[in-house]
């Protein structure tokens, strides 16, 4: 007697259930339908109301306004701009200013943050306390408060140009802003830049060759003298042959103001200062937590392998700490970028200030302008998280976690 192999029960209905309603089945399907219907209804109401309201207020819609002449001036422009340019140009001027303040802010915030974190971890009691007090005070005050404080109170209290605070006789800080020397490219600049680039490529090549030798044959090559030689030598030779690549035009006091050099507007100084100091406090906490999260045994194991303290830190502790530090650090960078929109409070011409502020009040096209602004910030944060995710993935792969 043989057992007839039964055909499997029909899977069609189960699969359909799964496909339409997920794990929740038919009730999930009904729920999804209702939910979609509600969304569509709300969306329809919003669009209909907006259209009726816009018509009754006689506000144009669509993106045609982007080609209209802006007709206002912007106090800091990285790309050429004049009042007769279009709103599209205004948008890019604002975006460039936002990116500028974000990048410089991120740089300083990272540097200050790491220094404060090291201070907090220092065995020196007094220094640890000072760093802790810095973190507590800065973190518990609103960032807008700090921006206004630097802009309205501190920078406005700076002396006039005649009594400006000077650093090395070439940087001048006064109530009109920060005056810095302006680099001017000489004919020899292009070969110089090429030489620097070549030197960097050669140095990277040397490094990868040395690593390959180390991993493949266990040979330790002493390369740093060559790297240093290339990095300094090549640019030096070109500049000796072709003359100095750059000359600096120094700001000079002429009458009541400075001439020459470049001027950094006080709004930029205040915003960068406030954002860097604010974000640095958060970064310091992240770095401290990251370093403390690495087990003490790792340090001891490194020492017992005969590695020096610096090598243990560089090769063992920091890579493991980086894995913990990186995700929150990324979100702090994004926070800084988003907080740079507070520029609108002090009139630094960032994206929100010139586009969502001035352009919106001139054209009245709130829907389009706010949608574009939100889209830009969304895009920035998505791109940043994508880059950081990739970096984190590489880091975890190099630590053998895949």
């Amino acid at each position: 007697m043989t057992i007839e192999s039964r055909p499997p029960p029909p899977q069609f209905v189960a699969k359909l259930r799964r496909a339409l309603g997920g794990r929740a089945g038919w009730s999930g399907f009904v729920f999804q339908i209702l939910f979609t219907a509600a969304l569509i209804w709300i969306g329809y109401e919003i669009v209909a109301n907006a259209r009726a309201n816009l018509q009754s207020q006689r506000i144009a819609s669509g993106f045609g306004f982007l080609d209209n002449t802006a007709g206002f001036d912007v106090s800091q422009t990285l790309i050429p701009y004049s009042g007769s340019d279009t709103y599209t140009r205004v948008f890019f001027v604002g975006l460039a200013n936002t990116l500028l303040v974000s990048v410089i802010g991120i740089f300083f915030a990272t540097v200050i943050g790491f220094i404060v974190a090291l201070g907090r971890l220092s065995p020196n009691w007094l220094l640890a306390r000072i760093a802790g007090a810095y973190v507590e005070v800065i973190r518990n005050l609103p960032v807008l408060f700090q921006i206004l404080f630097w802009y309205l109170a501190v920078l406005a209290a700076l002396p006039n140009p005649r009594q400006s605070i000077s650093v090395f006789g070439s940087f001048f800080l006064n109530s009109r802003g920060l005056f810095i020397p302006q680099p001017i490219a000489n004919p020899g600049f292009l070969p110089f830049a090429i030489a620097v680039l070549v030197a960097i490529i050669v140095a990277l090549g040397l490094r990868s060759y040395a690593r390959q030798q180390l991993f493949a044959h266990g040979r330790v090559l002493l390369i740093w003298p060559y790297v240093l030689g290339v990095l300094i030598g090549l640019p030096l030779i070109t500049s000796l042959l072709l003359g100095a690549p750059l000359t600096f035009e120094f700001p000079q006091l002429k009458g009541f103001n400075f001439a020459g050099g470049s001027r950094v507007i006080p709004e930029f100084v205040a915003l960068t200062l406030a954002l860097s100091l604010y974000t640095a406090a958060f970064i310091a906490e992240i770095v401290r937590a990251g370093i403390q999260s690495v087990h003490k045994g790792q340090m001891e194991a490194g020492a017992s392998l005969g590695l020096s303290r610096g090598a243990t830190l560089r090769l063992i502790v920091v890579p493991q700490a980086m894995r913990v530090i990186l995700p929150p650090l990324t979100s702090q960078y994004l926070n800084l970028t988003k907080n740079s929109s507070l520029a609108v409070a002090i009139g630094y011409p960032d994206l929100v200030s010139v586009f969502t502020g001035t352009t919106l009040s001139q054209t009245g096209q709130a829907v389009e302008i706010i949608a574009i602004t939100m889209g830009v910030y969304l895009l920035l944060s998505l791109v940043t998280s994508a880059i950081m995710n990739f970096y984190g993935w590489r880091l975890s792969r190099s630590l053998g976690n895949t």
Binding site: A24, G28, N53, P123, W125, E136, K338, V352, A366, Y377
Partner: protein, 430 residues
């Protein structure tokens, strides 16, 4: 054994006494081990001391030593009149104090704002102290009944409307408390609470009615607290719903929740406020106007809700699967599993993180001053324009005052979150 005494290595005399070890305890020992043990540390200590000398000492001089304490206008705070370098100009804060706290809230009605502050504090304090019982009723009163009462007190309105909302809230609390089985204490507490406030309104208002105070007159610390408390209260249900939605098994709900959360977390709050101020009025029918304060509150609640959702999701992920499986095994439906078993544990887990996100929310309320609402920072900034108090130190005094208030609130909250964290992790400490 007998020749042991002749062995050369047997010591015949005592080892000479060693010098006492360097003290590592006490004040001197502390100085030696923590401040002056190596040359680098000595250098760092000296530099730190210098840093304190140039920051803390001038700060104390400014706030206390050189400060002017009495006066009626700017003349008191000028260096030539005071006879010494002038620090903080406290009479300016005294003169502007009501503006900093109430904005332009009418003077005759300020008792209502004060009563709201007192009520809030009375309901909040027992909620924060773990030893005090009846947390459930207390939380219901603070998170559901108090906002309604605060609205009537601050905005004004008649007793009939108050009685209707009292009935609605009481029934809601009765149902939340467990209906006919366990809901009676919540119902009683709510009714007593509303009755007391109703009597006060009946006695103080003219003809059982509190005159309406337009939200445009609100300002200062009042607005800061209204915005942050409303934001905290309103963002919690939004956050819980989004967190559950993000873990839902129904694909569309999950996708929508993810998109919604990531959208609000990806944009700066200021654009959200612009959105709420300029776009929201376009989305509702033309005959329907939304108050300026309410618009900002909607934006802030959605924004904070998205951040809370991520915090709560972290808590939900920390609850072992076994909990919900056990609940299912007992025959509880999804709704009861979530509300009785999973969510209470998840929320307990994330109280410290939630408090941290409330701190950010509290700090972020300062942004409403950009969309023409006068919160504490906005009022302080507006007061700088007053020529009666225009002195070189007025700005610094105003910032010092606002900074101290912000710092006290945020520092208090962060200390409380540390306290809760330590309490929650008590079993883990060795």
């Amino acid at each position: 054994m007998s020749d042991t005494g002749n062995q050369a290595f047997v010591r015949q005399e005592l080892v000479p006494e060693r010098a006492a070890p360097i003290r590592t305890t006490g004040f001197v020992g502390f100085l030696r081990t923590r401040l002056f043990n190596t040359p680098t540390n000595i250098l760092l200590t000296v530099l730190s001391a210098l840093l304190i000398w140039v920051t803390v000492v001038p700060l104390i001089r400014f706030l206390l030593v050189d400060a002017v304490w009495t006066g009626s206008d700017r003349n008191a705070c000028l260096a030539e009149n005071a006879g010494h370098p002038v620090g903080a100009c406290w009479p300016y804060v005294e003169a502007k104090f009501t503006q900093f706290v109430y904005g332009f809230y009418p003077e005759a009605e300020r008792w209502r704002a004060n009563l709201t502050f007192v009520l809030g504090a009375l309901l909040l304090l027992p909620l924060l102290i773990p030893r005090i019982p009846a947390k459930g009723i207390n939380a219901c009163l603070f998170f559901i009944a108090f906002p309604v009462v605060a609205f009537f007190l601050l905005h004004g309105g008649g007793l009939t409307a108050f009685a209707v909302s009292a009935a609605i809230v009481s029934i809601l609390l009765f149902l939340l408390g467990g209906g006919a089985r366990t809901g009676w204490p919540a119902l009683a507490a709510s009714l007593v609470f509303f009755a007391v406030i109703g009597v006060i309104i009946g006695l103080m208002g003219d003809g059982g009615r509190l005159p309406e105070v337009d939200t445009r007159l609100w300002g200062g610390l009042l607005v800061t607290l209204v915005v942050s408390v409303t934001g905290i209260v309103a963002s919690m249900p939004v956050g819980i719903a989004l967190a559950l939605g993000r873990r839902s098994t129904i694909p569309l709900i999950r996708i929508f929740s993810i998109a919604f959360i990531e959208f609000w977390r990806g944009v700066p709050l200021i654009t959200v406020l612009f959105f709420a101020t300029y776009m929201l009025p376009l989305f509702v029918p033309a005959n329907f106007t939304i108050d300026g304060l309410v618009r900002a509150l909607i934006g802030i609640a959605l924004f904070a809700g998205a951040y809370n959702a991520e915090v709560i999701r972290g808590g939900l992920q920390a609850i072992p699967r076994g909990q919900s499986e056990a609940a299912s095994a007992l025959g509880l439906p999804w709704w009861k599993t979530t509300s009785l078993i999973v969510m209470p544990q998840a929320l307990r887990h994330v109280i410290p993180s939630l408090v941290n996100s409330f701190i950010s929310l509290f700090k972020d309320t300062s942004l409403v001053s950009i969309v023409a609402l006068f919160d504490l920072l906005g009022s302080v900034r507006a007061s700088f324009a007053d020529p009666v108090w225009a002195t070189p130190t007025t700005l610094f005094t105003g910032f010092a005052f606002a900074g101290i208030i912000y710092f006290c609130f945020c520092f208090g909250m962060s200390r409380y979150s540390l306290f809760v964290e330590r309490r929650l992790n008590a079993h883990r400490r060795s």
